[in-house]
Symmetry: C2
Amino acid sequence: MAKAPQKEETPALDRIDLEILKLLQQNARATIKEIAAGVHLSTTPVHERIKRMEESGVIRQYVTLLNASKVGKGLMVICYVSLRQHSRHAGDKFIKSILEMNEVLECLTISGEFDFLLKVVAANMDEYYHFHVNKLSAIENVGNVQSVFVMGVIKQTHQLVF
Amino acid sequence: MAKAPQKEETPALDRIDLEILKLLQQNARATIKEIAAGVHLSTTPVHERIKRMEESGVIRQYVTLLNASKVGKGLMVICYVSLRQHSRHAGDKFIKSILEMNEVLECLTISGEFDFLLKVVAANMDEYYHFHVNKLSAIENVGNVQSVFVMGVIKQTHQLVF
DNA sequence: CTATTTTGCAGGAAAATTTCCTTTTCACCG
DNA sequence: CGGTGAAAAGGAAATTTTCCTGCAAAATAG
């Protein structure tokens, strides 16, 4: 009677599905035909499998990654934030503010001394300082904030390998 | 005589280019036709602009984002690493190892107490422990390692807003 | 063990898209 | 005021997507 503990009853991915995902992760604009050739199938089943995985939520989004410094976002900062009080209201207010800030690419709730880790991008130090003082610290209930500057990107991928 | 300080002499992006990038960032599989409609141009100039931005490196990659927990990668950990010595050789060895490890999605060199910040994904705590002990700590010259566990993802985007 | 249903894939055709070529438009300059 | 060059529009061929039909293998039932 008991089913496997899955959130939305994902139909389980077979080896071919994973192979398709591998190719799509590397190139979201790959044609069905190319993918089909890669997994040794015709276009039809590949198309159906992709559609199924889009609908089941396995595939979240197709995105284009840009060269940040070439579009004027050359500075990356990891930013730690703790709130002064941890009421539901304070947390919701903070989250709402963060979601609206385009400088913040990532916000994680973490274990340890701080409550949140933010990945922030800016054009330069002036812009980051403005963000820090006038936007981030201006959110009510924000307590301690600590910035760690990213000096170099060694690796940056989204490829999940199964 | 002096030029703008650009790495590879990017031809400078106009308002329409940025609008195209905005749409492509949101949906890498958008058709040229859809994008053209979005920027009120015909397909031809849009196609040319995209090709130009691909070649100039402004567009880095088209990728597909997956639902990590639906493909069995439900645990995310931020991992700080410092090396015991900071010779060129030690650093290169570490970097080489990290690039080969599929669990590591991101590796940044940072200011502060630690040398590197790693974003690591794993199926569960067992798998992460195995990574920590047998893979990460096994790299020669790795000194202090500290793990911070991600309890929740508030925001995760790649959309650079200009 | 055979019949039947189901599932997944191949092949083909219509619709849509990409991509290339030619023509047109517009702005700038002589 | 026409010349020149850059960028966009329009059109057409090639490619791709997407849907349909049919077939084969596996699963299920009798």
